[in-house]
């Protein structure tokens, strides 16, 4: 649904840098702040109040109070929650240019994508889940005996949401929207690299009229603010998107604290399988986007491209072409496809993995180093002759580095595709209906694309097999993870069917 993109606001005014609790803006209890950096210029944009345990305690207390029986939020008609969410969607669209500009400034992603994809993605989450608010039904159940039995789908309570930096605005809403639609209250910690659009969202939440305490936002770092949320005895559920390493810590933290529900969306090393009978041009183009979209900073990146040997050389040639043509530069330039990577840590890690690829004998077809001399820009990089045992074939790079591997048979490639601790996504390109279903049903991945990649919608459940995560976001399954089932059994004088 692309319309002409309005010009970006190149120096968007930073309006909100404080902690948001009870619909109010407050400074950190410690007085500390932290900087957020522009990855294009490597300069500090501004300083943000740094939340820590004391601030998380205040936020959780506010959320708990907003969730008390008898509170405005608990007494509100579910349909009214939906109306508030739709209003939020309207306000986001009203401020689409500003939010996209702010996201671009803070994250480095191209403004055109932020405008056309990131902001609408967030709005879609809001509108889709608003529709569920008054449709979370329980059941009546014909149990044996003289009983009337029914279930209620009750909101789980205080949700600790921890969002990543690759799609800051969109993923914050991916968590907030279903939580609110289900009647929960939220304490969100945005990623420390990208707090600005989450804080602006807070101002819209207040403008819509959500009661105080329903949404609270505490910017800060993982080991401090994030850990405080995960260890808190009054947080009922954590929803985290980020690295597998941190996901494991959060799982353990739940066990050490109050056994809070945990859903995790973690990393991936997703296999993208291209058969000889695929539409080659189309497959090469889709595989290119599957990897390079968002500067490779996508949990579902198709980062192991398995190409059948008959078309391998041709495919590699086309991939190099696409990689070379893909423009890198100023995210506010509408013609640019790639901005910088998010920060110096990622930048160094990606360059390190590229080195390992060279050293371990993969063939560097193009790119392979820094782009320019300022900003965390990396050249679009393609490796061919990659084998399964190389680091670049096993570890999540999260950068613009495409690995192209050769395969012979379908049984062989399925085994190799599954030979990983990850299981987030996969794809198969083929015209053959039998191959398509065989691969789709054999690969251990939460989302499988057939003759496509990256297609996603809030209505379709999304999540990982194995160490790519736990639980699903999206669809009815996704929102019901924010509900807790209560079964009520009433004695009746005499049962009648």
């Amino acid at each position: 649904m692309e319309t002409a993109v309005p010009p970006p606001i190149i120096n968007p005014e930073i309006k909100f840098t404080q902690i948001f609790i009870n619909n109010e803006w407050v400074n950190s209890v410690s007085g500390r702040t932290f900087p957020t950096v522009n990855p294009v210029t490597e300069k500090v944009i501004c300083h943000i109040q740094e939340g820590d345990k004391a601030d998380v305690d205040k936020a959780v207390a506010a959320a708990t109070a907003a969730f008390e029986i008898g509170s405005p939020w608990r007494r509100m008609d579910a349909a009214q929650r939906a109306i508030l969410l739709h209003k939020l969607g309207d306000l986001i669209m009203r401020d689409q240019t500003y939010i996209a500009s702010l996201e671009s400034l803070d994250n480095g992603k191209p403004y055109k994508g932020a405008f056309n994809l990131d902001v609408p993605f967030g709005v879609k989450q809001v509108r889709y889940f608003a529709g569920w608010a008054d449709k979370l039904t329980g059941k009546t159940i014909p149990v044996p005996g003289d009983y009337f039995c029914y279930t209620r789908a009750e909101p789980v309570g205080v949700v600790g949401a921890i969002a990543p930096w690759n799609f800051p605005f969109g993923i914050a809403l991916q968590k907030i929207a279903p939580a609110l639609a289900a009647g929960c209250v939220v304490v969100l910690k945005p990623s420390e690299q990208t707090s600005l659009t989450a804080l602006y969202l807070a101002s819209l939440i207040k403008e819509v009229g959500f009661p105080p305490g329903v949404v609270n936002i505490v910017p800060g770092y993982g080991p401090t603010a994030g850990a405080a949320i995960c260890e808190h005895h009054d947080v009922d559920k954590v929803s985290f998107t980020g690295s597998t390493a941190v996901g494991k810590i959060i799982m353990a933290a739940s066990g050490k604290s109050n056994l809070k529900g945990v859903s995790l969306e973690l990393g991936g090393k997703s296999p993208n399988i291209v058969f000889a009978d695929a539409d080659l041009d189309y497959a090469a183009l889709m595989s290119h986007h599957a990897l390079f979209f968002n500067m490779g900073q996508c949990c579902v990146s198709g980062s192991r491209t398995y190409v059948q040997e008959e078309i391998y050389d041709e495919f590699v040639k086309k991939s190099i072409d696409y990689a070379k043509k893909r423009t890198i530069g100023d995210p506010f330039d509408l013609s640019v496809e790639n901005g910088p990577q998010i920060d110096s840590t990622q930048f160094k890690k990606i360059l390190g993995l590229i080195e390992s690829g060279k050293q371990q004998g993969a063939k560097l077809e193009c790119g392979g180093g820094r782009h320019g001399d300022k900003g965390y820009f990396i050249e679009n990089t393609v490796f061919s002759n990659v084998t399964d045992d190389m680091c670049i074939a096993k570890e999540e790079i999260f950068g613009p580095v495409q690995q192209i591997l050769k395969f012979k048979t379908i049984d062989d490639v399925i085994k190799r595709a599954n030979n990983t601790q990850y299981g987030l996504a996969a794809a198969v390109f083929t015209k053959d209906i039998d191959k398509a279903f065989a691969v789709a049903h054999s690969v251990k991945a939460g989302t499988v694309w057939v003759n496509s990649y990256l297609a996603a919608d809030p209505s379709a459940p999304f999540g990982g097999f194995k160490m790519s995560g736990i639980g699903r976001e999206g669809g009815e399954d996704g929102i019901r993870e924010f509900c807790e089932i209560k079964t009520v059994v009433v004695k009746v004088p005499q049962k009648n069917s």
């Binding site: 579910a78 109306i83 005499q494």
Partner: protein, 496 residues
């Protein structure tokens, strides 16, 4: 969404009087028109183009075209359908003053009730909009080397015939589930109240529904309605109205193309008040249960069964409340009731009142016309009603409350169920056991406990027995507008 009362517009200008299909307004092919009357003044409001078979054929053609697989409507994202419905809701609220005023003029319902109807209808569109992209099929682990999935596909061209008691709401009840599931509709509003349906048709065009998706054909039952029921290119018909016509429609389906049929018909709903009830609460709900909307409610609580210990007190309190009710100018805020919808209903109701007196019921209050112009009737209460009286067996559809005495629970449940109707029922009691027992025993699609007439976007509504079949509102309404297609793909080897 403000709670302030919108301004009433007396004598609103009628903008649309023509037949609507393909996003255009047309004159009738026959040249015929019919008048629509203001029941408060008995004066003609305007003439409306009268649809007959030829116009129905054109509209159905347009609808079929809009439903073709390559059409804009069939290609549209489900979420986009939902978005159009939200836009329609916004437009209805934008024009709430005009819409409510037009309805007051055409139907005689009070202006305040019409304002509430517009709001509820807009919210109902929003409710259904939320379902649009959630119409899920399943994948099913069948035996053998097969991959099986289902799709919930729209049925196609849906004929919808609605009554005159809640013209705007009944349109929303029909459009909502049909459009969100991807169908196309041909709606015939009641001949007594065509105006708001035509205005809303124009709003659907403004909202952006593609041509042919929404079609509105004003006209009469035996001509336009029958043409729809008999049509070989109509895939489904949904009707709200009398049992008599419901039976004709069911037969027409058999005689034509076996189109699927859902019916919302009449009722003679039992409202049971036990001795341990909060009596004032029961009296208040029983009052609105029968007198709301001038008694023109399919689920009206028209048989009030009161346990003998509280019978006299119930009658006394009910009489007080009924006598205090203001029946008059529907534009006035103090009017609880306006007129009945037309002369024929008025005569019918007065006829039933006469029969009540003749058969020996006690006229407790009311029973008379109000004023000399307009079809106004006083809230009427009959006591000492016996089960075999006409007023206890037949649907009056007017402001006439029948109060019957009973002794114990088993007896009253049997008497309550002793009817071929089964639309609604209620029980007033503080006792949890009696509440659950009685509500389980009543043969009725909606049962209320310590309240009456609570019908909301989310609650499935419909009849047992001859009050109809199928459900409107709530999740259960969606299956009336979808058909399941099961697809089974042979695969080389099964993988669990």
């Amino acid at each position: 969404m403000s709670d302030a009362v919108p301004t009433a517009i007396r004598n609103p200008v009628v903008k649309y009087t023509q037949i609507f299909y393909n996003n255009e307004f047309h004159n009738s092919l026959s040249g015929k028109t019919f008048p629509t009357i203001d029941p408060a003044t008995e004066e003609k409001i305007t003439d409306v183009q009268e649809s007959d078979k030829a116009d129905v054929d054109e509209a159905v053609k347009a609808a079929r075209e809009a439903f073709k697989p390559s059409s804009p409507w069939r290609q549209m994202d489900a979420s986009a359908r939902g978005y159009l419905m939200c836009k329609l809701a916004d437009l209805m609220e934008r024009d709430i003053s005009y819409l409510a005023s037009l309805e007051t003029t055409d139907s005689g319902k009070t202006f305040l009730d019409n304002v509430a109807d517009v709001r509820a209808s807009a919210n109902l569109f929003r409710y259904y909009a939320g379902w649009a992209d959630k119409i899920n099929g399943k994948t099913i682990p069948v035996d053998g080397n097969f991959f099986t999935y289902t799709r919930q596909e729209p049925i196609g061209v849906c004929a919808q015939i609605i009554p005159w008691n809640y013209p705007i709401m009944m349109l929303a009840w029909k459009f909502g589930p049909a459009l969100c599931t991807g169908n196309v509709v041909v709606l015939k509003p009641a001949e007594q109240t065509p105006l708001t349906a035509l205005y809303i048709a124009a709003l659907t065009k403004e909202a952006g529904f593609p041509a042919g998706v929404v079609n509105v054909l004003p006209g009469f039952g035996p001509t336009a309605g029958a043409a729809l029921a008999d049509h070989m290119q109509v895939d489904k018909i949904a009707f709200t109205g009398s049992v008599e016509v419901g039976r004709l429609i069911q037969q027409a389906s058999g005689k034509s193309n076996l189109k699927s049929v859902t019916l919302e018909l009449g009722g003679k709903s039992p409202n049971i008040v036990l001795a341990d009830a909060d009596l004032e609460n029961a009296v208040n709900w029983a009052h609105s249960g029968i007198f709301f909307n001038m008694g023109q409610n399919c689920c009206a609580g028209s048989r009030v069964f009161v346990q003998e210990a509280v019978y006299d007190e119930f009658l006394e309190l009910s009489k007080k409340k009924a006598d205090a009710a203001v029946v008059g100018d529907p534009w006035e805020e103090k009017s609880e009731n306006g007129p009945q919808v037309d002369q024929s209903q008025f005569d019918r109701i007065m006829g039933y009142i006469e029969s009540g007196k003749k058969e020996g019921a006690t006229l407790v209050c009311g029973g008379t016309r109000v004023g000399k112009k307009g079809f106004f009737i006083r809230p009427t209460i009959f006591g000492n009603v016996q089960d075999n009286m006409k007023i206890a067996r037949e649907e009056i559809f007017g402001p006439v409350m029948q109060v019957l005495k009973f002794k114990d629970v088993e007896e009253v449940v049997e008497r309550a169920n002793n009817t071929f109707y089964g639309l609604a029922g209620a029980v007033f009691t503080k006792d949890i056991d009696k509440a659950l027992t009685i509500s389980s025993s009543l043969q009725a699609g909606s049962v209320w406990i310590n309240c009456y007439d609570v019908v909301l976007s989310q609650t499935p509504f419909g009849g047992f027995k001859m009050s109809g079949h199928g459900r409107e509102l709530g999740e259960d309404s969606l299956k009336e507008y979808t058909q399941v297609k099961c697809v089974t793909v042979k695969i080389p080897v099964k993988i669990s």
